[in-house]
Amino acid sequence: MTSSTHPETGTRATDDPGDVQVYRVHIRTTPQAIWDAITRPEWTVRFGYQSPVEYDLRPGGAYRGLASDAMKQHGAPDVVIDGEVVEADPPRRLVQTWRALFLDEGFTRLSYEIEDEGDGVCTLTVVHDVTGAPGTAAQGAGRTPGAGGGWSQTLSDLKTLLETGESLYR
């Protein structure tokens, strides 16, 4: 919305936030549990869009988000999201590119920041720079009809899963 991306370099002035979405949730769990829930397919199938993921957790490593069973029933291809790991600092920080293959848009930049607040509570902050990707922005904000509740619902579900052992939406 506020993007003033340089037309040639694709970079923005440092005081321009671009079109960025920020989501934060507090979860009573460990940083490692959150890290595993984001990066391991046996966890990612248990919350949110329930898509298995494949991560090569090193800079330049591949990321693939695979179709869930429900997506496959609707005719989705095997790989629905692709991207590349930019930075992996387990269990604190993961930065990656993220592109929805079902949208005709370029790569966006996604980061997960995990902070241990002490007292057994962690803060997970998701920052999704969706500059130049309005379809991805709408999806992340849960504004795409029939395409789920976006990051809010995913993080609410993740909190419930890690705190109670069960997903909100089964």
Partner: protein, 112 residues
């Protein structure tokens, strides 16, 4: 629960809801941008933003010299998932049952 109290308290003020609406319309604004066009002083806006941030509804991030404010909808989603759903699910189901029952009775009284 304390987290919920902070969210309800933060939402129980028209000025703060207006600030959230402004961030919903355009996310990632500075204090200066958020104050522009409002009948509130910069200090009042800053104080309201502090309450919203304390409740987790606003998250701030620094970029260069500026501090940007972002709307974080997750606390509202949590309240929705843990409270609103719980109370709305049954009544809606009950209304659907009532509709079905009334339609069936109507069929009995006045056959098509």
């Amino acid at each position: 629960m304390r987290d919920d109290d902070a969210v309800f308290n933060a939402l129980a003020d028209g000025s703060r809801r207006e600030l959230l609406d402004r961030l919903y319309a355009r996310d990632g604004q500075t204090l200066r941008e958020l104050t522009a066009g409002l009948q509130m002083s910069r200090q009042a806006v800053s104080r309201h933003l502090g309450v919203l941030e304390g409740a987790g509804l606003v998250v701030t991030r620094r970029s260069g010299r500026e501090k940007f404010h972002f709307l974080n909808p997750v606390p509202i989603q949590l309240i929705h998932d843990r409270w609103i759903d719980k109370y709305t699910e049954r009544p809606v189901t009950a209304l659907v049952d009532l509709k079905t029952e009334l339609e069936q009775r109507h069929d009995l009284i006045d056959p098509p």
